[in-house]
Amino acid sequence: MTQRLRMGVILTAATALLLTACSSAKVDNAASTTPATTASTAACGTLNLAVNPWVGYEANAAVVKYVAEKQLGCTVVTKNISEQVAWQGFATGEIDAIVENWGHEDLAKKYITDQKVAVDFGSTGNEGIIGWYVAPWMVEKYPDITDWKNLNKYASLFKTSESGNLGAFLDGDPAYVTNDEALMKNLKLNFKVIYTGSEAALITAFRNSEAQKKPVIGYFYEPQWFLAEVPLVHIPLPTYTAGCDADPAKVACDYPPYHLNKIVSKTFADSASPAVTLLKNFSWTNEDQNLVAKYIAQDKLTDEQAAAKWVAANQAKVDAWLK
């Protein structure tokens, strides 16, 4: 009985499917490539774009991809990889461009100077700031905390299970350069550096700090989408002068400002692709990036939607990149 029932169900289902199929739309394989794109694809070809794992970068990549595809007819292949792997991709010929690079002198020496497989393509227009930050409520409550000389006064506020008798200072993503351990020693601050190990850990800590009024101090950077949610306050250290960070053990000054730049592969730079001009000229402000990053991270738009929205409002800037 159950056997027959099962068979009946299967047959009915099959018939139903066949019936729907007859009246249903067909998979149209020819429609995938529009003639307009094909024509210019020949001129541009494929652009292999590295996408490093942070939202600000994703914003740059989204806009470059959108413009290259829609206005230059390129085929853009994005590859989600970390920074080291991306630089390495210049050597293996798999990466054409990195669109937001933070320093990385060692990698630049290896791939630009020594192996000559990569080329510096100039600033993205974004200024990177690395430094010490606290949540805005702390500045309201302790206005003089923004002067580093007063930090010892507040050190005990920041004590946690991880820091013993000292205040806990949260360090972030291991990908970023940090001098904080040396800074604590050389500026005689009673803080212990806790390596949180990821950006997610840092952001969560600051988010909780603001929501629960819990004292947290740590390493952070701009541009970063999270600053649109909680505008962390930067605590300046003794001003950076060229060479003051030469000896990592004796650093007693702030981090240098980073001029974020674009790196492309030598082969790509030498090619006739119209995307070369785009990458060379691509430049925008921190506000621009923060806006697109906010579309992606907080408004949950896809990369393409976010880029489309920004480009629609800033066509003039885009046109300048293409000249």
């Binding site: 970390s82 299970s161 390596y195 949180t196 950006e199 850990a201 952001i203 991270a297």
Partner: protein, 658 residues
């Protein structure tokens, strides 16, 4: 029983003495001779490893033979994975849909699982696959599946023959053991970058990273399966004059089949557990979704994708387990019953249905593209997000208090004594343990391993990691015993708990890191918690199996003698399941150690952080590799000592009779 107790006593005296000596010496001599090393300082060994790394990088292009071999491997794997992707997930060039759409895949899955297992599991699988679309990740799930299928097939092609060899030739097995240990314990972060350099960014690298982790279980379990074949049967075969090849094909392999299927199951699980890590070098699929969501701290989306991974694991696990059971049933009952004939008819009709479904999904839009994708996933993501937000806001202070309490009372004393103790005091304690449990041979191994640990230059970080590992393992074992005993005694509890445990084992840690961080901050406690989520399920399952295996007769005798339930559990069932508990301890420790790197991402520092830093910064690459080595050394040391401890020395007393 009496004998065992005496043996235990004989072991406990030197162990207790060592513990006392350790505590006294480490507090007297504490803070000296303990190899501290700054975060950014490198030892000569680390710089050397950096140079070795650079030399290998350079060799890639310089050595034509190497380049040729590597390229051949890469292009064939790339071809294979791309083929699978074109079939199920990604449109081939010039098309906008893969060859087979969702309806065809569903039909194929149902039919294959029905053919190899039974219709109940087939139904579960079809529902599970439908859920991928309903959760909103049809394409990503199929990408992940394509990668898992490719990795598992290659892992089996390599692992099973080698496993057979290892089963037949014990020498080959002992030769392979260190390599397998290495492959299973070495954190993936350490070799992601070099693999991506040699095999380029793409499916091949992702597959190879997965293979490194997935081949060992296939090999190991096959070897066990071959060795499990009763000696009597093999001898009978040999005396009948069969050749070695015939013996293998006609006797050993058929009898080992069921265990080999278990190996396949473990291989699949291992492959699936690499999904998120492989996404760091652009492996397509669900891992990408999880990583991207983590960047945005989007707990909802990452949970949604994590759920799809769990569903995939449960479907693959249940169907392969059911297939293993069917292999066993077929072997016992033979075929050709009336039931089997009916089944065959069902399968043939079903096959026609599969062909129809595949045709439809290749031709018509409704069957090619999942309709209304994500109708289930979007609300799930929203509820998860608001639930975690609420919990974080309202429980924040209570959890912070708890974190402090545990850290100050347990973690800090433990860590301080291990980190502060001079290295020779700790080394001495480890040696005594190794000697007491494993005799002179293990003690010699331990000397060698400790020397290696010192050689890595990361003694101090290793002790930080070790203390967190011990603490997490202790919680894991307590959980294992409590929940394992409960599950083992009660079928209903088992049925409810098992899917939760499966989820704990396969849910990528990246999914729950953010809520954990929200509650417990960037602390060692968060890292320990993450480790327990991952490790406790294995321990609980092992203890449950052990408790269930206690013979009814023993239990009945105890009940007849008037034992209460409590007495029955503590005096009869748990002691009888002692071997299982020992195994659960061993596995608990190893699983906890596997999460050290994740711990490094949430503030636990130690070796885990160094591994992550080595992945992120090229100047720290050598140090990261050294940290990886240190983790392997700790893993092997812990594994050998706990294994020796779980094997009663009685066997030695009786003599090796095999």
């Amino acid at each position: 029983m009496e004998l065992l107790r005496r043996i235990r006593d004989r072991r406990s005296i030197p162990l207790a003495t060592t513990l006392v000596v350790f505590v006294v010496l480490s507090s007297v001599l504490g803070g000296r001779w303990n190899f501290p090393l700054d975060r950014s300082s490198l030892t000569g060994f680390h710089t050397w490893l950096n140079q070795v790394g650079d030399a290998i990088d350079a060799a890639r292009n310089a050595n034509p033979l190497m380049m040729y071999t590597v390229d051949a491997i890469r292009s064939s794997i790339d071809w294979f994975v791309t083929l699978l992707q074109n079939i199920m997930s990604q449109p081939p060039a010039g098309s906008s849909f893969p060859y087979i759409g969702w309806l065809g895949i569903l039909a194929i899955v149902g039919w294959v699982v029905y053919a190899t297992a039974n219709w109940r599991v087939a139904l579960l699988s079809v529902i599970g696959f439908y859920a991928f679309g309903a959760l909103g990740f049809w394409t990503a799930s199929m990408d992940t599946l394509a990668l898992v299928i490719a990795s598992v097939i290659i892992a089996l092609i390599v692992g099973i023959p080698m496993g057979i060899l290892a089963g037949i030739f014990p020498k080959f097995e002992s030769f392979m053991t260190p390599f397998l240990d290495f492959a299973q314990v070495m954190p993936t972060f350490v070799y992601l970058t070099p693999v991506a350099l040699f095999f380029l960014i793409g499916p091949a690298s992702a597959t190879i990273v997965t293979l490194i982790y997935a081949i060992p279980p296939a090999l190991r379990i096959t070897a066990v399966a071959i060795r499990e074949v009763p000696v009597v049967v093999v001898e009978a075969g040999t005396s009948l004059g069969t050749t070695r090849w015939q013996l293998l094909r006609k006797v050993q392999l058929p009898l080992a089949k069921r265990t080999i299927v278990v190996g396949i199951n473990q291989t699949i699980m291992a492959a699936l557990s690499m999904v998120t890590i492989a996404a760091l070098i652009d492996a397509p699929g669900l891992g990408q979704v999880v990583i991207k969501a983590l960047q945005k701290l989007d707990v909802g989306t990452s949970f949604q994708a994590g759920l799809a991974i769990v569903v995939m694991a449960v479907v693959l696990d249940r169907s392969t387990t059911a297939a293993a059971a069917k292999v066993k049933r077929d072997a016992e009952h033979g075929r050709g019953t009336r039931h089997a004939t009916r089944r065959r008819i069902g399968l043939s009709i079903g096959f026609v249905g599969v062909l129809v479904a595949v045709y439809l999904s290749h031709t018509f839009l409704f069957a090619a593209q999942f309709q209304n994708e994500g109708f289930l996933g979007t609300p799930i993501a929203r509820y998860t997000q608001s639930a975690t937000d609420w919990v974080q806001l309202n429980w924040g202070s209570a959890t912070a208090w708890y974190t402090d309490w545990v850290s100050n009372w347990f973690l800090n004393p433990l860590q301080n004594s291990l980190v502060d103790a001079p290295w020779f005091v700790t080394a001495f304690a480890v040696l005594v343990m190794a000697y007491v449990f494993g005799g002179r041979r293990l003690a010699v191994t331990a000397v060698f391993l400790i020397a290696m640990l010192i050689g890595t230059g990361l003694w101090s970080d290793a002790m930080v990691t070790l203390s967190a590992t011990f603490f997490a393992a202790a919680i894991t074992i307590v959980f294992g015993i409590v929940f394992g005993a409960w599950m083992g005694r009660n079928r209903k509890v088992d049925r409810v708990m098992r899917p939760i445990l499966d989820a704990g084992q396969v849910l990528p840690a990246f999914v729950y890191l953010v809520p954990f961080l929200g509650l417990f901050g960037a602390t060692r406690f968060t890292a320990i918690l993450a480790a327990v989520v991952y490790a406790a399920p294995a321990s609980i399952k092992l203890v449950a199996d052990g408790v269930r295996g206690v013979p009814e007769t023993i239990k009945e005798a105890a009940i007849a003698a008037g034992s209460s339930t409590w007495q029955l559990i503590t005096k009869v069932e748990l002691p009888s399941a002692r071997r299982a508990i020992a195994l659960a301890t061993n596995q608990g420790l190893i699983y906890v150690l596997a999460m050290v790197v994740v711990g490094g991402l949430v503030g636990a520092g130690g070796l885990g952080y160094l591994v992550v830093a080595g992945f992120a910064q090229s100047s720290l690459r050598g140090k990261g590799l050294a940290a990886g080595l240190a983790i392997v050394v700790l893993g092997i040391l812990i594994d050998r000592i706990t294994q020796a401890a779980s094997q009663p020395r009685v066997r030695e007393a009786i003599g090796n009779n095999h």
